[in-house]
């Protein structure tokens, strides 16, 4: 299909001349605009219509763009997928696969292993970058490759009473929502029983722990690797001592204005993308730190995350 301007209106039978795909990097990534080009070229070729890629750095903006039909495909995090489906009836078509999983744990770090570790910290290798990092409370095995499987040692969260805790923005699942849920489950009043140290971004959460501004901080797995250049002894200064529950990865959603056959073809193409060429695999990894997309969207994971989200959005 090639023709038809203004096709958005006619209920998804005629294909539009072009679609816009917007992406919010789910990790603090390098400049992604370059990396996005091969993907859009691949999709344009496959679909026979123009696919434009845009890297936006704001979740709300991409969802609103989808709602206003300014972008038809979004690659974003779980929270935005939930909002896009709830608010604008978007259709979830793919989920991110990172290290073989569609979810990840948030990690609790401390600079005070004496208090929060029951055992001596051990070193395990973070496979993605081959860096040795420290873990305690038995969440990883010494000398092995780190797995990052949560929840683990979550019972220690009760010990956080009275601590300085670095928390990211309330919109951040790994840096705020999941840890707070765990603390609340452990009987803490997160407004009164701990001293919140507000930080922005996973790196800063780790740095706050490393340089002593907070005793404990939370970030995705494993944010320590990004500050190694500045703090070479990060393994000593920030020890991972617990994992939260697994947080769903993001994925891909499309507007309800796109024709069904286009959506089906797009889903297929993207699902196949990582295997289409070595270059594509590279791009996937660099682009969003993904190894693949999967069509098993596991909508229930997203829905469950939506419940967590609602606790905080009110």
């Amino acid at each position: 299909g090639t023709d038809a301007a203004g096709s958005a209106d006619d209920g998804g039978t005629e294909w539009p001349e072009s679609i816009t795909m917007s992406l919010v990097p789910s990790v603090e990534g390098e400049n992604l605009a370059e990396a996005l080009d091969p993907l859009t070229t691949y999709l344009s070729d496959g679909l026979g219509i123009e696919v434009e890629g845009v890297v936006a750095n704001n979740y709300t903006a991409t969802v609103e763009a989808l709602g206003a039909d300014q972008s038809q495909v979004i690659i974003t995090d779980a929270g935005s997928l939930y909002q896009a489906t709830e608010r604008y009836g978007a259709e979830l078509i793919l989920r991110d696969v990172r290290f073989g999983a569609t979810s990840y744990a948030s990690v609790a770090y401390t600079n005070d292993p004496d208090t929060y570790c029951e055992d001596e910290p051990v070193l395990a290798t973070y496979e993605a970058s081959d860096i040795e990092l420290s873990y305690c409370n038995g969440i990883e095995e010494a000398g092995a490759a780190a797995t990052g499987q949560g929840p683990a040692a979550a019972e220690v969260f009760g010990d956080l009473a009275g601590a300085n805790v670095a928390l990211q923005a309330a919109t951040s699942p790994a840096g705020y929502q999941y840890p707070v849920v765990l603390m609340r489950e452990a009987g803490l009043d997160t407004d009164a029983d701990i001293t919140q140290v507000p930080v922005e971004g996973n790196n800063n959460a780790v740095l706050a722990v490393a340089n002593g501004d907070a005793e404990v901080g939370f970030a995705y797995w494993d944010a320590r690797t990004t500050v190694v250049e500045e703090v070479p002894d990060i393994a000593d200064k920030a020890v991972a001592f617990a994992y939260t529950e697994m947080i769903p990865n993001g994925g891909v959603a499309v507007t309800d204005t796109l024709p069904d056959d286009l959506v089906a073809e797009l889903t297929q193409l993207m699902d196949d993308y990582a295997d289409s060429s070595p270059e594509a695999a590279d791009v996937m990894f660099e682009l969003v730190g993904l190894s693949d997309w999967t069509a098993e969207t596991a909508d229930d994971e997203i829905a469950r995350y939506g419940e967590v989200l609602e606790q905080f959005a009110g």
Partner: protein
């Protein structure tokens, strides 16, 4: 010259008009060419699409109307962060105001005829100003950790950059006959600046000091990045949760602050004028 009787204007011996238009035309066409170049998508410029506005303005209107429905129930939660922000903003602006006086007077030509020190101050301030706020915030957190200190440092850095730039150029553009008189009296530049230039240009300073204060409230998102909390962090959070009614409340509060500062600025300017 002797008197003449009325004749057509041609009789006036008007000296030939200096030819400034070729240079002007050159400047204007250079600017026009530059503007056109910025509109060429082919070389990375902006593609101007006015049609989209006509097609889609309703989307914007819907969005705006969502923003125009403040959720007043949210108000109590904004009080504490707002106070924190105001406190930081005020202290930051005050420190910046103190620092900006000597720097500004060193960076303006009438108050510092020495081209070497003037260029040096201007260059340093330019460099500081050139680094975007987000980069400053990140670097400051990495350097002194999170908390009020990096927040304060960030605010002071922005404010000094703005005040020095704007006020020194405004001083450059004005005429200062009193400086000449003081110079003729054998005064040192320092004496002139302290006793004449500063009070005489105080309205210019006040405008920008108060603007810096206002700016500090508005850019308090930066304070969120450096871990100093405040209203900006709250705004980002509510925005992230799509809670536009709450965002609306915060914006109205900021508007009140802006209006109060504006009123203060008007009163002071009137008194000093």
């Amino acid at each position: 010259m002797s008197g003449t009787t009325a004749e057509p204007a041609a009789r006036f011996e008007v000296p030939p008009r200096p030819r400034t238009w070729p240079r002007r035309a050159l400047i204007v066409s250079a600017l026009a060419a530059f503007t056109v170049a910025t509109c060429l998508p082919a070389i990375g410029g902006v593609e101007i699409d006015l049609g989209a506005i006509a097609r889609n303005w309703r989307h914007g209107a819907a969005n705006l109307s969502a923003l125009l429905q403040p959720n007043w129930a949210f108000f109590p939660r904004t009080v504490q962060p707002m106070l924190e922000t105001l406190q930081m903003a005020f202290v930051g602006a005050a420190i910046a105001a103190a620092l900006s006086v000597p720097l500004t007077l060193w960076a303006a030509r009438p108050t510092n005829p020495n081209i070497l020190t003037r260029s040096a101050v201007r260059a340093v301030v330019n460099v500081f100003r050139a680094v975007p706020d987000l980069v400053w915030a990140t670097i400051l957190v990495a350097m002194v950790g999170v908390g009020a200190l990096p927040g304060l440092l960030a605010l002071v850095l922005f404010n000094v950059g703005i005040v020095v730039k704007l006020v020194s150029e405004a001083i450059d553009s004005a005429e200062h006959p009193y400086l000449e008189a003081a110079r003729a009296g054998g005064a040192t530049q320092h004496q002139i600046n302290r006793t004449l230039a500063l009070p005489q240009n105080l309205p210019l300073f006040l405008n920008q000091w108060l603007y810096a204060l206002e700016l500090n409230v508005r850019i308090s998102a930066i304070l969120g990045i450096v871990g100093a909390g405040g209203i900006g962090r709250l705004l980002d959070e509510r925005f992230g949760f799509f809670a536009y009614g709450d965002v609306s409340v915060i914006i109205l509060e900021i508007l009140v602050v802006v209006l109060v500062i504006e009123a203060a600025s008007n009163i002071l300017r009137r008194r000093l004028a």
